[in-house]
Subunit: 97 residues, 5 copies
């Protein structure tokens, strides 16, 4: 899984019927401190994530292993919202209240 | 999913029989403003996308989760046409009428 | 799918039994003009492609969605030979007769 | 599979129900000497790996081929803890007791 | 598939039970001349490859399409030992006797 930050939203009227009503969020991968890098990508949300959240995304067929994404043409899913990350014995990221 | 811009079309007479009659479009990945970068790739179209459209593409086995692409040897599908993108609270891309 | 040019062939006596009699070609990815870049990779041929041809390759489980590659341990397939590419309203590649 | 070093842990209260009770570790890919490089990624642990361990991670649908990860939306699994690596006839990494 | 050179071996006592008795080799991708580049990766061997061999590796779910790797949490398999490569009409690699 990748650590990523939710940075925005997508509006798409014309899309595969299985995507109707689904939330497609824009993300950027981050390091262990939540600092974004690289180009944006888009994932389907299954955990009610919001802008600014640090999340985990799973890609490939694994993205279809949730109730929401079964048999759906999506290749990336947000499947967890990160509360905190501990790296090398220190808290490297802590979600703000 | 990747944000990508449709930049062209492919003509291929000799191909897997399951691809007969299918539209294979040329794309380049873009950032959240629709600015392309990187090398072109090709995806099968399922939403009647056209040149200049900003779209979402899904890769891997997820590309076969549409009525058009089931059991077909394609690894990338266009499954949505983007109307607009909002990033960091601002509209970063808006489809022209 | 990637646009790629067939640049060579592979000979392998010791291989998975399902690969017996199959043609494994060496390719390099190209841009929309057919100019190669990057390192070579190998794909199983299902469309009788030859050296110099510009082709499309599909990767991952999609590579197994042809009669020739079903249940076979190959992760990349040549599933179309490109006749021409049109990008930004101009023919960027045309197969020579 | 990638050679990777476990560098930390993830806490996530809100997540896919199938992830309840699972350990999601933070890793960085390493070379054959165990020297990390690149950005961190996250994998589900199935072998009771701990901080500092050098491990192997498998990605994609292969990450779901364990008893713990079956049908779970995870795309990377730790499936082995490395005792030693031998490269070019020399021990390039040896786990400390 | 990637062209790769076997450069070493992995010892791992703690691992997924399905990996018991399997050979996990360390490889580096090579160009068409067999010259390695990039970081090492690990694949399960199904063709009795040895150190120094140039081989083909298949990734993803395709890595599980052999008798040895069925239902196993491995994402890369060695499925052929290369005898020779011909690129641009010349032998670019020939296995030494």
């Amino acid at each position: 899984m990748l650590i990523a930050k939710v940075i925005g939203t997508t509006v798409a009227t014309i899309k595969d019927p299985k995507l109707t009503g689904r939330k497609l969020l824009v993300l950027r991968q981050t390091d262990e401190h939540g600092a974004p890098f690289g180009k944006p990508y888009v994932a389907i949300d299954t955990v009610d994530a919001g802008a600014g959240d640090l999340v985990l995304t799973a890609a490939g067929s694994s993205a279809r292993q949730t109730d929401i994404t079964k048999d759906t043409p999506v290749d990336t899913v947000i499947m967890a919202i990160i509360d905190s990350l501990e790296v090398d014995g220190k808290i490297s990221f802590q979600k703000s209240e």
